[in-house]
C-alpha cells in the first residue's frame, strides 16, 4: 500500500475521541444494567433479622472494566476494518479442513487411552463417563433433529424409558444388564413410534411443543405411578453390570480375582467407561452408516423439503417414524446404562433441563456434524465441571464465592458467543454422503456405447 504509515496514525488520532466517546456511552449503559445486578445485593442479617443492602464494588468494577475493554477492542477493530485494507491472500482458505481427517481418530485414541493414564483418578473417570454419555445422547438426538429435522424437546423421555426399563426388568424378573440393554432399546423405540404417530403432520414449533409435553408426561407418570415406579423415591438397588457374568466384587469370584489383579473400585469405573464408549461408538457407527443408506438420505430430504419428498414418492410416514424410533432407541440404550451406573434412578434425573442440554449439545456442535457433538459435549459437560475448579476466584471475590453458581451464566454466554461467531455450530459443514467417483470415464459421450 502506497499510503504512508503516519497517515493511518493520524486517522486513528482523529477517530480516537469519537471511539472513546462511544465506549463511554456503552460503559454508562452497562453500569446502569450492572448496578442492580452486580452492585446491589439484598442480604438478610441473621442477628438483627433485618434486610440490608450489600454493595459489591469489586464485582461492579470488574464487570464495567470488562465491558469497557471489550468495547475499545471492538471500536479499534471496526476502525481497522474501515481503514486498513486486507490483503486478499492474507487469510488462508481453511485451516481446519487440513486437520479434519485426523480429528476423529485422535479423539478416539485419546478416549481409549484415557483410563490408563497415570493422572486419571476416580473423579476424571466419572466426568469422562458423563461426557461420553452425553456424546451418545447427542448422536442419538442428532438423528432426529439434525438429520430428519424434527425438533424434539422431549428426548429425555426415551432416556427415562431406557433407565426404568432396565431397573424394573431387573427388579421384577431378575434380568441382567446384557438382556435388558436391547430390551430397553426396543421399549424406547416403541415409545418413539408412539410419540411419532400423533405428530406425523406437525413440524417446527408445533412439533417442538408436543415433544416437550411428551417429555413432561413421561416424567409426571413416573412421578405419580408410585406402585410401579416408586414415585419420587425412585428405584434403588439396581444391579450393576457384570463383566460378561463376572461381577466387580471383592470376593474370589470377582473380576479382580479372576484375572489375578489387585481389587480396586476403579476397575468397575473403567469397565463402565469402556461400556459407554462402546455404546457411543455403536451409535456413531450406525448413524453414520444410516446417513449413507437410502433411509438416511430420506431423512435428510425430509428435513430439506417435505412436499418434494412426497412428490418423489418417499414414504414420509415411515421415514419420520423410523427417525423417531432409531433416535429413541439410542436414548434407551443410554438410559439403561445410566441406571446401571447410578444404581439409583428417580424422575428428578429426567427433567426438561436434560432435554435442553442434549439439544444444546446438538445445536452447538453443528446439526449434522458428529465430531461437533463431541466437542460441544466436552465444552458443555466438562466445561461446567471445570468451573468448580476455579477456586482461585475466591481470592478475588471472597470466601463466599462459589464459582459453580455462575455456570448458567457461562452456559448462556457460551451459547451467545457460539451463535454469534458460528451460527451453524462448531462444525458447520455438511459432508455429502456420495460422490461421483469416475467423473472422467463416464462422460456423456459414453452413453451411446452402452457404458455407464
Amino acid at each position: 500500500m502506497a499510503q504512508p504509515q503516519n497517515n493511518h496514525a493520524q486517522n486513528l488520532g482523529q477517530a480516537l475521541p469519537s471511539m472513546i466517546k462511544r465506549s463511554l456511552i456503552v460503559l454508562a449503559i452497562a453500569s446502569i444494567i450492572f448496578a442492580p445486578t452486580l452492585l446491589l445485593r439484598l442480604q438478610v442479617s441473621k442477628i438483627e433479622n433485618t434486610l440490608f443492602i450489600q454493595y459489591r464494588w469489586v464485582f461492579f468494577a470488574i464487570g464495567c472494566a470488562l465491558i469497557l475493554v471489550w468495547r475499545l477492542i471492538y471500536e479499534f477493530r471496526a476502525w481497522q476494518r474501515a481503514n486498513v485494507p486486507l490483503k486478499a491472500s492474507s487469510r488462508p482458505q481453511s485451516q481446519e479442513s487440513r486437520f479434519a481427517p485426523y480429528v476423529g481418530p485422535v479423539l478416539l485414541i485419546a478416549a481409549i487411552l484415557l483410563p490408563f493414564m497415570p493422572f486419571t483418578d476416580r473423579y476424571i473417570l466419572d466426568i469422562s463417563i458423563l461426557i461420553v454419555t452425553y456424546v451418545m445422547l447427542g448422536w442419538g438426538l442428532q438423528i432426529v433433529v439434525g438429520l430428519a429435522g424434527l425438533l424434539d424437546l422431549g428426548y429425555v423421555a426415551f432416556y427415562a424409558v431406557g433407565a426404568y426399563s432396565y431397573a424394573l426388568l431387573a427388579e421384577h424378573f431378575g434380568f441382567g444388564f446384557w438382556i435388558c440393554l436391547p430390551l430397553a432399546g426396543v421399549f424406547a423405540a416403541t415409545w418413539g413410534v408412539i410419540l411419532g404417530f400423533p405428530v406425523l403432520r406437525l413440524r417446527g414449533d408445533y412439533l417442538a411443543i408436543v415433544t416437550l409435553a411428551f417429555g413432561e408426561i413421561i416424567r409426571v407418570v413416573l412421578l405419580n405411578w408410585r406402585d410401579f415406579t416408586g414415585g419420587s423415591n425412585g428405584l434403588s438397588n439396581i444391579p450393576r453390570p457384570s463383566f460378561f457374568g463376572i461381577p466387580f466384587s471383592q470376593g474370589p469370584d470377582g473380576f479382580a480375582a479372576t484375572f489375578g489383579l489387585e481389587y480396586s473400585s476403579l476397575q468397575r469405573m473403567g469397565f463402565l467407561y469402556f461400556l459407554i464408549l462402546a455404546l457411543a461408538l455403536l451409535t456413531f457407527y450406525i448413524s453414520s452408516r444410516l446417513r449413507k443408506l437410502p433411509m438416511g438420505r430420506a431423512w435428510e430430504a425430509l428435513r430439506e423439503d417435505e412436499i418434494a419428498c412426497r412428490s418423489l414418492g418417499l414414504n414420509t410416514i415411515n421415514t419420520k417414524l423410523s427417525a423417531f424410533a432409531i433416535g429413541a432407541m439410542f436414548g434407551g440404550f443410554a438410559g439403561s446404562f445410566f441406571a446401571a451406573k447410578q444404581a439409583f434412578i428417580s424422575p428428578e434425573s429426567f427433567n426438561f433441563m436434560e432435554s435442553a442440554t442434549i439439544l444444546a449439545i446438538v445445536v452447538l456442535g453443528g446439526m449434522s456434524s458428529q465430531i461437533g457433538v463431541v466437542f460441544s459435549s466436552i465444552a458443555m459437560v466438562g466445561g461446567i465441571e471445570a468451573l468448580r475448579q476455579l477456586q482461585f476466584l475466591k481470592a478475588i471475590f471472597g470466601p463466599d464465592f462459589d464459582p459453580s453458581s455462575l455456570r448458567l451464566l457461562f452456559f448462556g454466554l457460551a451459547m451467545v458467543i457460539v451463535m454469534l461467531w458460528r451460527p451453524r455450530g462448531f462444525v458447520s459443514s455438511r459432508v455429502p454422503t456420495v460422490f461421483f467417483r469416475e467423473k472422467k470415464s463416464v462422460g456423456s459421450s459414453m452413453i451411446s456405447q452402452g457404458r455407464g
Binding site: P294, R297, A298, E300, A301, E304, D305, I307, A308, C309, R310, S311, L312, G313, L314, N315, T316, R430, P432, T433, V434, F435, F436, V442, G443, S444, M446, I447, G452
Partner: protein, 241 residues
C-alpha cells in the same frame, strides 16, 4: 381408440371447506404433451397434487393406465410410473446435485441408477459439471433442470411438470421447453404440463386446457387455443376482455 394413460373424471378437491377443484375431466394419452393453463389460484397445482395423491380427491376418480390411483398413497402412485416436478422446483438445497438425483429414485430403487444418471447428464450437461455442488447454489435455470432431472430419475411413463418456467429468463425457459419437446419426440415421454406461460406451453402441446376457478372452461389443440380470442385476451396479453 385406446384408453388414455391418465384419465381424470369429475375430480373435486377441498382445502378444508374451500373447494379448489369443481369437477375436472381430463385425458392424457400415451406419447402426448398436454398443457393446462390458468391464472394464479385457478387450481393448477392442486390438480397436480391431487394426481400425485398428496391432496386427496373428495369426489371423482383418477385412473393411471387403468389403475384407480385416487385411492392409494403418494409413494405407491409414484411407483406406478408418475413423476412430478413440483411448483417452485423444490430441490433439496443443502444436498448436492448428485444426491438430489439419487433421491429421484426413492420410489423405484437404485437398480438403474448409473444408467439413468448418465442420461440426465447427457440431457443437461451443466448438471454433470455441478454434480458435487450444493443444489441451493445453482442458478434458477439449473435448479429447474435438476428438478426435471430428478423427476426423470424415477423412470416415469408420465411426467407432471408444474410451472417449469417460473421465475426463469425467457431464454432459459425456451431451453427447458425445447428439452421437453425433445424428450417427447425421442423417447415418447408423456408430459402433462401446467403453465402460466401460455404462449410457450400451447406451442409445445398437442392439446391444451384452460382452468378457471377449478373448472376447465376451454379445451382444444394447442393452436386452437393460441388463436382463441378469450385465451388471447386473458393469457397472451391481447387486449381487454
Amino acid at each position: 381408440m385406446t384408453r388414455p394413460l391418465l384419465e381424470i373424471r369429475g375430480v373435486e378437491t377441498f382445502y378444508g371447506h374451500n373447494q379448489a377443484l369443481h369437477g375436472v375431466d381430463l385425458d392424457v394419452r400415451e406419447g402426448e404433451i398436454v398443457t393446462m393453463i390458468g391464472a394464479n389460484g385457478a387450481g393448477k397445482s392442486t390438480l397436480m397434487m391431487t394426481i400425485c395423491g398428496v391432496n386427496k380427491a373428495t369426489r371423482g376418480s383418477i385412473h393411471f393406465d387403468g389403475t384407480p390411483i385416487h385411492l392409494i398413497p403418494p409413494h405407491e402412485i409414484i411407483r406406478l410410473g408418475i413423476s412430478l416436478s413440483p411448483e417452485g422446483r423444490r430441490i433439496f438445497p443443502r444436498m448436492t446435485v448428485f444426491e438430489n438425483l439419487q433421491l429421484g429414485t426413492a420410489a423405484i430403487g437404485p437398480a438403474h441408477f448409473d444408467e439413468d444418471v448418465q442420461k440426465i447428464f447427457a440431457l443437461f450437461p451443466i448438471l454433470e459439471r455441478r454434480q458435487s455442488q450444493r443444489a441451493g447454489t445453482l442458478s434458477g435455470g439449473e435448479q429447474q433442470m435438476l428438478a426435471i432431472g430428478r423427476a426423470l430419475m424415477g423412470r416415469p411413463r408420465l411426467l407432471l411438470l408444474d410451472e417449469p418456467s417460473l421465475g426463469l429468463a425467457p431464454l432459459i425457459a425456451r431451453q427447458i421447453f425445447d428439452t421437453l419437446k425433445e424428450l417427447n419426440k425421442n423417447r415418447g415421454l408423456t408430459v402433462f404440463l401446467v403453465e402460466q406461460n401460455a404462449n410457450h406451453a400451447l406451442k409445445l402441446a398437442a392439446k391444451g386446457h384452460v382452468l378457471v376457478n377449478g373448472r376447465i372452461t376451454l379445451s382444444g389443440t394447442g393452436e386452437e387455443l393460441l388463436t382463441h380470442p378469450d385465451v388471447k385476451a386473458a393469457y397472451l396479453g391481447g387486449g381487454a376482455r
